[in-house]
């Protein structure tokens, strides 16, 4: 039975946050089944238009009943009974995990990713697998082999990417929250362009066991949610050291720093030149001013090598892509074409299986690693990466977080960034956190208007390794200021 007087807002169940839904479930205002049905019904109704999900799963009655029993028995897990959307490059046993590629269109996961195992233990439910750029390579979902996802705020525009399906699903209330992956901004940029909170955790904070690898020195799994508190809940559930991913790190590996109640926000003004849209810049400055009013202080920081971060990223990432995607050869699983000889089997399977952007990055990676070029590109990029990290560590001596707008502009139109370099520039502010391994969060900072539509934009914060708590603090402050 619903009792409107105890509800904070008159919400449909699928419009709730994790916190709201968890409360409503325990207040007996809502059953797990009703919550699932509300999300699944909305997803089935809206997905033909948005293409946020590549597949919507049938209701798992056993899991729904079990979650209800746990709640009835007083289980405190905030994710118990909460329906989530999962990016198509995270393995759920028995479900297809295609990474939005023809290469893996027919691949059924043989095991649960560690994050899925943890979510199942927490009682979470899975609505479906979400669209993305093929193998997480792109910033718009236009590189999906199964059609682009549309931005719920304006369906003539992209939702960002590569986790665009997860972002659109949550923004359109077709899931309570979602998981994405972030190699150069693939959680934070779509979160920014759809008005959500997106977190890329510290490198090693979350196990990648069961995530289809793209750039292994950069990839992290993280949440896309409606609020900062929801992001914290999901992050707390999926994080932790895992023997199945040797890059995971124990708590306290990096020395924690005590932060005061009011944070020092580093602003690299020298990087916010003409490329940031004027109204995005104005919203960014206004958000910072409100944070100042709350007692936080602004500090100028210099990050001189940042101008080279994207170039370094576009050397390191494709190098790792070309190595990681070498395993997809049409022999053991996935798309398998057969030709005259074994080499033809490889060539045909890979050529038919991979889309143009994937092939482009494989070629680029092959090039930058080839003898004669490795010093000029890969080693130089690796050195730039080390310098960037030192510069950020230095900057964090005078501040607790570094702030940027998440993107230069709001969501763009389909086909607008048809040349690869202009698409790559979408990630100009987000890639650095992947290169340095530092955690970063995008939170909504209002909207700007384009063609009569209000389009969300995000503010982006980076903190020291394992300082996610500081990001949640500043994220909460941004939420309070709105």
């Amino acid at each position: 039975m619903t009792n409107p007087s105890t509800k904070p807002r008159d919400l449909r169940p699928n419009e709730m946050t994790i916190v709201e839904a968890a409360r409503a479930l325990r207040a007996r205002e809502l059953t797990v089944r009703e919550l699932w049905d509300a999300c699944a019904t909305a997803a089935h109704a809206k997905n033909p238009e948005l293409n946020a999900y590549l597949e919507l799963f049938a209701a798992d009655d056993t899991a729904i009943e079990l979650a209800q029993k746990r709640i009835d028995a007083g289980d405190a897990s905030p994710l118990c009974g909460i329906p989530l959307a999962i990016k198509d490059n995270i393995l759920i046993e028995g479900k297809i995990a295609s990474a939005a590629s023809k290469m893996l269109e027919n691949y059924t996961a043989t095991y649960d990713a560690t994050v899925i195992k943890k979510l199942k233990e927490a009682g979470a439910l899975f609505l479906g697998r979400t669209n993305m750029d093929e193998f997480a390579m792109g910033s718009s979902t236009e590189h999906s082999a199964f059609g682009a996802t549309r931005n719920p705020h304006d369906t003539s525009r992209v939702p960002g990417g590569s986790s665009g399906g997860s972002a659109a699903a949550v923004a359109a209330h077709l899931a309570i929250a979602a998981l994405g992956t972030d190699t150069g901004g693939s959680i934070r940029q779509p979160a920014g362009l759809t008005g959500l909170v997106g977190l890329k955790p510290t490198y090693g904070a979350v196990s990648r066991n069961g995530a289809i690898a793209m750039g292994s020195s950069l990839d992290q799994i993280g949440p896309l949610t409606k609020t900062v508190e929801d992001a914290r809940i999901l992050y707390d559930t999926i994080r932790g050291i895992d023997p199945l991913d040797s890059t995971t790190i124990p708590d306290g590996l990096y020395s924690a720093r005590q932060t005061a109640e009011h944070l020092r926000i580093g602003v690299p003004r020298h990087l916010l030149g003409e490329s940031v849209n004027a109204d995005v810049r104005a919203a960014f400055d206004a958000t910072l001013a409100k944070l100042e009013q709350q007692g936080h202080t602004l500090v100028d920081v210099e990050l001189p090598t940042s101008g080279h971060a994207l170039a370094a990223y576009y050397v390191i990432m494709p190098a790792e892509v070309s190595a990681n995607l070498a395993r997809l050869d049409g022999i053991r699983y996935g798309h398998a074409a057969r030709g005259a000889a074994l080499l033809d089997d490889y060539l045909l399977s890979r050529t038919e299986g991979f889309g143009p952007e994937t092939r482009r990055r494989i070629l680029l990676g092959t090039f930058v690693l080839s003898s004669g070029y490795i010093d000029a590109y890969y080693r130089k990029a690796d050195a730039a990466r080390a310098v960037l990290r030192q510069e950020y560590e230095k900057a964090f001596e005078s501040c607790d977080v570094v702030a940027f707008p998440t993107t230069l502009s709001p969501a763009f139109k389909f086909g607008e960034k048809s040349d690869p370099v202009s698409m790559y520039l979408e990630d100009i502010f987000t890639v650095t956190a992947n290169l340095t391994g530092m955690p970063a969060l995008s939170a909504p900072m209002g909207t700007v208007e384009r063609d009569g539509k209000a389009l969300p934009i995000g503010i982006h914060f980076t903190a020291l390794h394992q300082a996610e708590e500081t990001l949640f603090t500043i994220g909460n402050a941004v939420e309070r200021s709105r």
């Binding site: 691949y107 170039a311 057969r338 990029a381």
Partner: protein, 106 residues
């Protein structure tokens, strides 16, 4: 400047094919990307940044708690694109992944 021949050669190394129809576009886009990442050339990196100890290192652990043999065999075999004809109808011989003959005697 990348040439179409160079792009073709890279593709062969990477075991993908770029069709003739795509080749011009791929080559010009490749050039644009190389021009962009080429800005790294202008970056001066201090010697100290080059030779330093990398912040990340490989983490090893002892082998242990092996999964019993056969636990995942069926699930993995179900994903094989081609299972060996030789053992079809004789499940007691197990499941084999079929690949082309690599060494020939001609």
């Amino acid at each position: 400047m990348a040439t179409t021949e160079e792009v073709k050669k890279l593709a062969a190394l990477a075991r993908v094919e770029i069709s003739d129809a795509e080749l011009e576009k791929f080559t010009s886009e490749f050039d644009a990307i190389l021009a962009y990442i080429g800005q790294l050339e202008s970056l001066e990196v201090a010697q100290s940044a080059k030779g330093g100890k990398p912040p990340l290192r490989n983490v090893m652990r002892e082998d242990g708690q092996p999964t019993p043999a056969g636990t995942y065999t069926e699930k993995i075999a179900a994903q094989f694109p081609f299972s060996a004809e030789a053992t079809k109808g004789r499940p007691e011989e197990g499941v084999y992944l079929e690949v082309k003959q690599i060494i020939t005697h001609d």
